[in-house]
Symmetry: D3
Subunit: 148 residues, 6 copies
């Protein structure tokens, strides 16, 4: 499938969220074209997951902590990514199930045209399951938004 | 993040759906532990996307075409993966927006315990956007289910 | 579980939609306290399912065909019942999967207090599955609304 | 409506969840073909409802407490059933509304073909409403999944 | 767009929830045809928002506090309005984001036909955003239901 | 409720979508601070509604027809607004119900801080109902997004 984008920020976000450091090494060349960071959240509260991503994005200067505009762009990218993680499941209160998520945030200019500007990709990868270690399976989520 | 699973079928499905043939080469050793296939669907109808995955899974003997049980397992894995692709968006009728999706189906035994048996992972990766080429961004979805 | 309602219109709707004529015979005494009708829809289009229920309700004088108010009450009861049938699944265009649904509409006064007036229950029972006969499983949905 | 299944595990689950002991007596012959249990949950927290069903299923040996695979099958059947109970309503935190639910879990072999194996049905029946006794109406949910 | 309704209770609810007292003055003539009240909720818990509207409706005699029927009609109008406020976003536990909502409840007879009776409109208007003042944007929701 | 925004683009969009020309006159001063346009869509297909808004936005130069970025911002604002119009209802294929919607698009700089830049508001107002004229009630939706 040909991508009309010159840089696939979503694919890069997924790789950063998923691969071991050693595996990620292979894609180091592609990663030079974007800014990115990664983090972890083992919380069972979705609000804490959202906070962890926002904090990480600001601390790593992927978004400005002075502009609501950038927090807004990130927030909706996170929400879209969480749809993939939750897959339409009813969620209520704290989730009780174990959640172990690694996340990646990638900021870059995916399109050839200069004016398309910068976009954000947020990826989650991890496990969700019963509150007993090992009783869980993988989950993924990807969200994309324009920013900047 | 330590995985309590010995084989990450979801991660492998993501890589098969997302990477170029050349990039996938690097993971060929890990892919020996599972059965998998891949395909494409450029349809704008979600039902045709579902059909394309089911047909591909049966043609490549990833699921039995004799057992509803296995079609049922695959169908719910596809639905979960499509939640990630659609990200909670309202969908009505044919989608009009361009959809270009590559999919991967992986079947394997992710857990150490023999009795946990086989599981399926379905991944979609591609673009969704306005009906003008280039006016689209990446989307991804992963679904996991027990089977066999 | 004690019901604070004197007549369980939802339970009756479930029984009418689900039981064979012979089995339903046993509940004939309870059914004397309400008005009800039943019907079938084998359509794969959700709009045709909705129409079939509305038509049946009007033809059997369970709701007035002169008042939008009563059509409105029925419509939302149908929508709630369809949530149970679809179980949060993404639906797009015609559903392609086989759908064979029996429905029941019950109108009655469930509460002791006279002023609580009449309420509607709509129940669906049937199968949804792959477009091959036999490759499907049961589905059920119940919706309740105030009316009249 | 002819059922291509020899045993309607969903219908049986609904009857077990709904009928009085006396009414259920009539279906005792049909219930011999399946394994089943029932329970109650008066909690207003959805997570506690899920836990109550899982605990009941394991205590009554309807699913193995040793295999994640079986907990996974049950969990998704519960989630599907809860969609019918909640009917698409926004849920946030503890629900505050009264919830009084009776549930039934049925495990059996619905299909003629031996290889289709065992399936699970989870049914909920009860009331949801304002936090004042009597201010509530009936709700139902049914979920079905392959298992074993 | 011609309205086949003689009184647009939804539009009036929107105006009451949205306009300043001074701006609302202009519509005072139209507001004479309906009963209405307004209130505020700054809570971050959706259940507290729902409670605030119900309490206000009963205190201002817009619905009877003796009839579940009327609470039921209001409850579903509130839920519909909250869909507009939340816009399909995943909600879990307390929302953490700042929520400042003004609400309006309007009760009236929108249709020419006497028998169409009374209907309710519930409108929310306010802001939702990051937990820092100023980092938020507007949100709106309207729900309509038959009552009385 | 104090708004920390200097211009309430969402409120203006709702007023433009809802008020008669005469009523809107009153707000002409406030409307000088933003760019806006309005339109109508009587289609029963959601995709045609989306197209109508996008076409109107481009024809009236509210968004650039050269930048995907701006179409993307508008598209998500439309989707959010449609959530309010549909209120969580299951939608499948063409909706069959009558839909008569007026829409407004407002572009402006809501925040005091210059760097927060431009934002879009999309509002829908109209009726949705049974396919008989008069059998319908009002519906509203508002979506907001950053742009430019
Ligand atoms: Mg997008
Ligand atoms: Mg699962
Ligand atoms: Mg209700
Ligand atoms: Mg199923
Ligand atoms: Mg309605
Ligand atoms: Mg927003």
């Amino acid at each position: 499938m040909e991508m009309t984008q010159k840089i696939a920020i979503g694919k890069l976000a997924m790789l950063v969220a998923t691969l071991t450091d050693e595996e990620l090494e292979i894609f180091s060349e592609q990663l030079k074209d974007v800014e990115y960071c990664q983090g972890k959240s083992g919380s069972m509260s979705m609000q804490k997951v959202i906070s962890a991503v926002e904090t990480s994005a600001k601390r790593n200067h992927l978004i400005s902590d002075k502009l609501y505009r950038e927090t807004h762009a990130l927030y909706h990218a996170i929400l879209e990514a969480l749809e993939g993680v939750m897959r339409g499941q009813i969620v209520a209160g704290d989730m009780m199930r174990t959640v172990g998520l690694r996340f990646a945030i990638v900021r870059g200019s995916p399109y050839e045209e200069f004016d398309e500007g910068e976009w954000l990709a947020v990826a989650f990868y991890g496990t969700i399951g019963a509150p007993v270690k090992g009783l869980e399976h993988e989950a993924f989520g990807l969200g994309i938004n324009h920013i900047g």
